[in-house]
């Protein structure tokens, strides 16, 4: 065995053993099964598809013949159009006048009646077109539009309207949202926005700062989860406010750090059905209690709990502060207006997609 063989052998052994066996995760399998029935296959245009298929199967001389035939047909058709357009009116032919070029809304373009198609779900955030967050900035902000959040562990798809300057935040398959871009001063991210997560049954901490205390009972209802969150040591909760999001009722509470949260490191609020631990950012960031407040909108969607977490405060976020941005009490004041517009646009499964 020479030196190269030895190296390639070691490399291939390494690649083979990397991470061990990695079967298709259930999260992906279930997401595919959920998405396939509502994803339309893109079919090739019939005539052109058949022509291409004929050409690909034909022998070389036959391919040239077919191609020549296509060219002849195109030339004949083109000539007919040119002759009609350029000739003076004759017997049996109507005058053709060039239509003025005007801009028109595309919705008015088709006067012929056609069956109303079933409204398709919007693109997922992962498939959304991207654009620069700001002139000269990274091309990873979403183009403004209505998009779908995708998770196999939620009760159904959620759609929302995204304005310019926001980007997808999807650290896990069942934990997704949008954050506002932090601009050139915060190139990593802003740490400010909205996220959606589900709550696994029986996976809410009794004390997020002390895992040895175990998990809270009776948290499978909105009231039960609110009660558990309101009694977390280390956190102060406002009284719950009844809310409705797209027809689904729930409660909203706002949490801040209590003085006893000092020294709380790696808090775990709850676990999602996909096994993700949701921490207390930005109430506790980098193991330090902050003065920020976070809103939790807890919804009962057909028996499943869905939580929308927002950082609805105007000041500089801990993530931005960690990037060297100084305290600014109004840094996100304008973003708060957009955040509320996003919240108002949220549609949960089964609801009409039009706002």
């Amino acid at each position: 065995m020479n030196r190269d063989d030895d190296f390639i052998g070691r490399l291939e052994d390494y690649l083979e053993s990397f991470d061990g066996p990695t079967p298709l995760p259930d999260r992906v399998r279930y997401a595919i099964r959920a998405d396939v029935p509502r994803t339309r296959q893109v079919r090739p245009a019939r005539g052109m598809g058949r022509m291409l298929d004929m050409m690909s199967r034909a022998s070389a001389p036959a391919r040239w013949g077919l191609a020549a035939a296509v060219v002849v047909v195109a030339v004949v058709l083109g000539a007919a159009v040119i002759n009609n357009g350029g000739a003076s009116p004759g017997v049996g032919s109507a005058p053709i006048t060039a239509a003025p070029i005007t801009a028109a809304p595309t919705t008015a373009a088709s006067p012929s009646p056609s069956p109303t198609p079933t409204p398709a779900l919007p693109l997922s955030l992962s498939d959304a077109p991207l654009q620069a967050c700001y002139p000269g900035g990274g091309v990873d902000c979403l183009e403004p539009g209505t998009y779908r959040l995708t998770s196999s562990t939620w009760p159904g798809p959620i759609t929302l309207d995204v304005p310019a300057g926001w980007f997808q935040w999807r650290p896990a398959a069942d934990f997704e949202g949008v954050l506002v871009d932090g601009g050139p001063a915060a190139p990593t991210e802003s740490g400010w926005g909205l996220m959606v997560a589900a709550v696994a049954d029986g996976a809410v901490s009794i004390d997020p700062c002390d895992p040895t205390k175990g998990l809270a009972d009776r948290t499978s209802s909105v009231d039960g989860l609110v009660a558990a969150m309101s009694s977390w040591p280390g956190f102060q909760a406002t009284a719950p406010t009844p809310i409705t999001v797209d027809g689904f009722s729930g409660q909203m509470i706002e949490l801040t750090a209590a003085p006893s949260a000092r020294g709380c490191s790696n808090p775990v609020l709850w676990t999602t059905p996909g096994g993700w631990a949701v921490d207390a950012y930005p109430i506790i960031a980098d193991s330090k209690a902050t003065a920020h407040r976070v809103q939790f909108r807890i919804l009962d969607v057909d028996g499943s709990l869905l939580v929308i977490r927002t950082t609805d405060f105007p000041e500089t976020s801990p993530t931005e502060a960690a990037q060297g941005i100084g305290p600014d009490p109004t840094r996100h004041a304008a973003d708060q207006v957009e955040l509320h517009q996003i919240l108002d646009s949220i549609r949960v499964t089964g609801a009409p997609l039009q706002p």
């Binding site: 190296f7 990695t22 298709l24 396939v36 994803t39 893109v42 291409l52 775990v268 096994g275």
Partner: protein, 182 residues
């Protein structure tokens, strides 16, 4: 891969596509993990590639080429995920794991760590070509088709990546020798 299964999925048979996912999904995910070096990005890339496959199956010209075509969709999906990677995942951590890495008896721990370190420093396009050729076992021509790049580009990327990995291993070995004799 059974041609009939692919043909049924091409005509909208969801059960047939589900069977295809079961057959190729694990391998696609394994490839994505090795290219992206991140389990969460790899999951997203695999999911994206499989949904793209379903959406575009009617355009597949030769059902016998399904697997090769799926690799191409996966490489595209990996590139897309890598572009999104810069957003960091600040306030989450995974509590459940797929399981620890299988102990590797064929190469030493030090070599594995050195390769791991060097492999991580390669760009995604270089990791892709190494994985396609030396893990999946594609020929450079097949890898070029999967990556949508000319075969010359694949050969040069492969040459650069292997040279880099070999030199990184040798440099680490030299460092160890020097440390050992100091």
């Amino acid at each position: 891969m059974e041609r009939k299964l692919v043909e049924r999925a091409m005509h909208g048979d969801e059960a047939a596509f589900d069977a295809l996912v079961e057959r190729v999904g694990g391998q696609l995910h394994s490839v994505a993990r090795r290219i992206l070096r991140d389990p969460y990005l790899a999951e997203d890339a695999t999911q994206r590639a499989l949904l793209d496959a379903w959406r575009n199956l009617p355009h597949l010209r030769d059902p016998d080429r399904f697997e090769a075509w799926a690799y191409r969709l996966l490489v595209n999906a990996c590139n897309a995920e890598a572009r999104r990677e810069r957003r960091h995942r600040g306030n989450l951590r995974l509590l459940t794991f797929d399981g620890p890495a299988v102990p590797d008896h064929s190469i030493g721990l030090a070599t594995r760590q050195q390769l791991d370190h060097a492999f991580r420093r390669l760009g995604v396009e270089h990791r892709t070509v190494v994985v396609l050729v030396h893990y999946v076992g594609l020929s450079p021509a097949e890898a070029a088709a999967a990556m949508g790049t000319p075969i010359g580009t694949v050969r040069s990327r492969l040459h650069y990546a292997l040279k880099y990995l070999r030199e990184a291993l040798e440099a680490d070995a030299r460092l160890e020798r020097n440390t050992g004799t100091a």
